[in-house]
C-alpha cells in the first residue's frame, strides 16, 4: 500500500518574455537537460513514466505532448497529461507523486514536465476560452458580452485578483507601499536566480509606485509578467533516490483542494464566498498536507516557503492562509525582513510568480525550487539550512489550491 516518494532532481529552462530561439519541444528538452545535470547518474532511459501538462489554448496547440514525445524521451512509455488551469504545474507534480506512490510494477522513476510558451499565442484569448463556457450563462440572462468583459477586466486573472486585493488591504489596513515592498523583494531575489524572467537588482518602492494602475489597487509594476519557460521534476522511490543524489527530498504531504469559486460565482448565481480573500480552500489544503507530513506548528517547522503569488497581495495572503504567519501579520513580517533572503523564514527567494510566470509551469516551479533549496542546489540558495519546505499553487477563479510539503526526512505513512 503506497510507497515513500522522493524528489531526486529538478530543472528549469531559461525564462524570458519571448524565447524566440526555441520551439515548444526544444524549450522542454532544455529543462530536462538541466534536471538530468543535477542528477548525473540518471539517463533518459532510466525514466519509466512521464506526466506532462500545460494550458493548451494559450499557445494554440492542443495535445502538445504528442508533438514532444521524442523530445522528452517518452517513446513507448506511459504518458499522462494533466491540465488544471493556473495550478497545472502543481497538479502535474502531484500526479508524478501519485504515479510513484501507487507502486505499479516497473514504474519507479517518473519525470513530471510542465511548460508554457506564451509568446506563441494570446493569453487573454486562452483565458477567455477557459471561462467563457462558464460565464456565458450571464448572456442568456440578458447581460451583453461587453459588460461581462468590463466587469472582469477583459477576462484576465487580474480581474479577480484586484477584488481580492481590495478586501485584503481593507482587512489588514495596509497601503500600496506594503504591496510595493513585496514586489521589490521578489524582483531583487529574481536578479540572483539564473532562470528568472524579470531581474531588477536595483528596483525601489518609489519606482513601483510611479507606474500607472492596471486595475485599482494593482499597478503595472506590481503584476506578474508573461513568460516562456519549462520546469521538470524527477520523482522516484526512496531507495533509488539515495543512489541518484546526495540529499533526496521526500514528499511528505500533497493536497489539491477546490472551494466555491469567488467573484465569478456559479451558473450566474453569484458566489457564497462573500470575502474573496477568505480562501477556505487554502486553509483546508494546508490542513491536509500538514497532517500527512506530520507538521503541527507550520510557523516553527517550515524553513522555506514558495507560494504562488502573481500579485503582491497574494504573497501576503497565502503566507497567512498556509499557516506560516498569524492572520493579518504578514505585511509586518515582510517589513521586518523575516521573509528576506537572510531572514528567519525566507519566502519566494527565486523571485516567485511575481517575477516569472509561465502559467503552466509556474505552479511546479514552486515545489521544484523548494526541493532544490533542501538539496542545496538552488540558484539563490538561502544561507540557513533548510529541512522542511512547501510549494503551493493557485488557479481557477481564486478557488483551486495545490500544496506540496517536502522534507529531508521521510514521514512514514505506510508501514
Amino acid at each position: 500500500m503506497g510507497r515513500q516518494v522522493a524528489i531526486a532532481s529538478a530543472g528549469f529552462s531559461e525564462h524570458a518574455s519571448k524565447r524566440s530561439d526555441v520551439s515548444m519541444p526544444e524549450l522542454v528538452s532544455e529543462a530536462i537537460e538541466d534536471c538530468l545535470k543535477n542528477a548525473p547518474s540518471v539517463e533518459l532511459g532510466d525514466i519509466d513514466a512521464f506526466v506532462n501538462g500545460n494550458m493548451p489554448a494559450f499557445e494554440g496547440s492542443n495535445i502538445p505532448e504528442l508533438w514532444m514525445t521524442d523530445w522528452m524521451g517518452a517513446r513507448n512509455k506511459p504518458l499522462l497529461r494533466v491540465t488544471t488551469g493556473g495550478t497545472t504545474g502543481g497538479s502535474v507534480a502531484i500526479s508524478g507523486y501519485y504515479t510513484v506512490a501507487a507502486g505499479l510494477p516497473g514504474v519507479d522513476t517518473v519525470l513530471a514536465v510542465a511548460f508554457e510558451q506564451q509568446s506563441q499565442g494570446d493569453t487573454s484569448v486562452g483565458l477567455a476560452s477557459v471561462a467563457y463556457g462558464e460565464i456565458s450563462i450571464l448572456n442568456t440572462l440578458g447581460i451583453p458580452y461587453e459588460r461581462i468583459s468590463r466587469l472582469l477586466s477583459a477576462g484576465a486573472a487580474i480581474g479577480v485578483a484586484a477584488y481580492q486585493a481590495t478586501t485584503y488591504m481593507n482587512k489588514t489596513r495596509i497601503s500600496e507601499e506594503d504591496l510595493a515592498r513585496v514586489v521589490v523583494q521578489n524582483r531583487r531575489n529574481a536578479a540572483k536566480t539564473w532562470w528568472a524572467h524579470l531581474k531588477m537588482p536595483n528596483l525601489t518602492i518609489e519606482e513601483v509606485l510611479d507606474t500607472p494602475y492596471v486595475q485599482y489597487p494593482l499597478r503595472y509594476g506590481m503584476v506578474c509578467p508573461a513568460s516562456d519557460g519549462a520546469c521538470v521534476m524527477l520523482f522516484t522511490t526512496e531507495e533509488k533516490a539515495k543512489e541518484m543524489c546526495d540529499i533526496p527530498v521526500y514528499v511528505n504531504g500533497v493536497a489539491s483542494v477546490a472551494n466555491e469559486s469567488a467573484v465569478l460565482g456559479y451558473d450566474g448565481s453569484g458566489s457564497a464566498q462573500i470575502d474573496p480573500s477568505m480562501q477556505l480552500g487554502a486553509i483546508r489544503s494546508s490542513e491536509l498536507a500538514y497532517k500527512q507530513a506530520g507538521i503541527s506548528f507550520p510557523r516553527k517547522e517550515i524553513d522555506y516557503a514558495e507560494v504562488y503569488a502573481p500579485f503582491p497581495n497574494q504573497q501576503l495572503l497565502w503566507t497567512e492562509k498556509l499557516g506560516l504567519f498569524e492572520e493579518g501579520t504578514a505585511p509586518a513580517m515582510h517589513e521586518a525582513g523575516i521573509t528576506d533572503f537572510n531572514g528567519e523564514l525566507p519566502v519566494n527567494c527565486s523571485g516567485g510568480v511575481n517575477s516569472t510566470n509561465a502559467i503552466g509551469a509556474s505552479a511546479m516551479e514552486r515545489p521544484a525550487e523548494a526541493a532544490l533549496q533542501i538539496m542545496g542546489k538552488a540558484s539563490n540558495q538561502v544561507p540557513k539550512t533548510v529541512h522542511t519546505s512547501i510549494g503551493s499553487g493557485w488557479g481557477g477563479s481564486l478557488n483551486l489550491i495545490t500544496l506540496m510539503a517536502m522534507s529531508d526526512q521521510p514521514q512514514r505513512k505506510w508501514r
Binding site: S20, L141, G142, I143, Q164, T167, A191, M200, P212
Partner: protein
C-alpha cells in the same frame, strides 16, 4: 492616450535570443452551444419585471442564494424556499478598471463592485452608477439597486447600483 494607461515599463536585465523561423497561424474555431438549466431562475426573472427581488433558500443550511441557484453545493439539495430580498445592498469589495470606451476612445474610470444584498448570503458582480465618485468607493458602502425604465425580465434590469444614504446602525463599516 490618457496618462492612466501609459505603460511606463520598469528596466530589467534583458537577454537577446536568436530568432528562429516564425509562422503566423490562427484558429478558425466553430461556434459553440453551451447548455444551461435556468428553470430555477424563471420565478426570479418574472419578479424582476415587477421591480421585486426574490432569492431561494436552502432548507438544509438556510443559506439564501441571490440570484437563485440550482443546487446548494454544501448540502447537495435543491433550494426550494423562496424569500424576498431588499433592494438595499452593501459593497463587499471593489476594483477600479481603466478601460477604453469603444465609441469615444476615452478611458473610463469605473468601480466594479461585488454586491452583497441585505438578506442574501451570496455576492454578485455589478457596476456602480457613473455618478458615484471613484475615490468615494469603500468596502461596506451602502448602495441601492437602480432599475431600468423598460424591464425585460433579465439580470440587466438592474442597470447599476446607486449610493444609498442610510443612517441606521446596521452599517458596520464607515469610511
Amino acid at each position: 492616450m490618457s496618462k492612466m494607461t501609459q505603460r511606463k515599463s520598469l528596466d530589467y536585465v534583458k537577454k537577446e535570443y536568436v530568432r528562429t523561423r516564425t509562422q503566423p497561424g490562427s484558429w478558425y474555431l466553430s461556434s459553440y452551444n453551451y447548455k444551461f438549466n435556468i428553470t430555477h431562475m424563471k420565478p426570479f426573472l418574472a419578479k424582476l419585471k415587477e421591480k421585486k427581488l426574490v432569492a431561494n433558500q436552502c432548507s438544509s443550511c438556510n443559506r439564501v442564494f441571490f440570484p437563485p441557484r440550482l443546487v446548494c453545493g454544501k448540502c447537495l439539495v435543491k433550494p426550494d424556499k423562496w424569500v424576498d430580498i431588499r433592494e438595499t445592498a452593501s459593497v463587499s469589495t471593489y476594483a477600479i478598471s481603466y478601460l477604453k470606451d469603444p465609441e469615444t476612445g476615452e478611458v473610463q474610470e469605473r468601480p466594479m463592485v461585488l454586491v452583497h444584498h441585505d438578506g442574501a448570503d451570496t455576492v454578485s458582480i455589478a457596476e456602480l452608477s457613473p455618478d458615484v465618485n471613484v475615490k468615494d468607493t469603500y468596502v461596506g458602502m451602502p448602495i441601492i439597486a437602480h432599475w431600468k425604465d423598460e424591464r425585460v425580465g433579465g439580470l440587466v434590469d438592474i442597470e447599476y447600483y446607486d449610493k444609498y444614504k442610510d443612517d441606521s446602525d446596521d452599517i458596520r463599516y464607515k469610511k
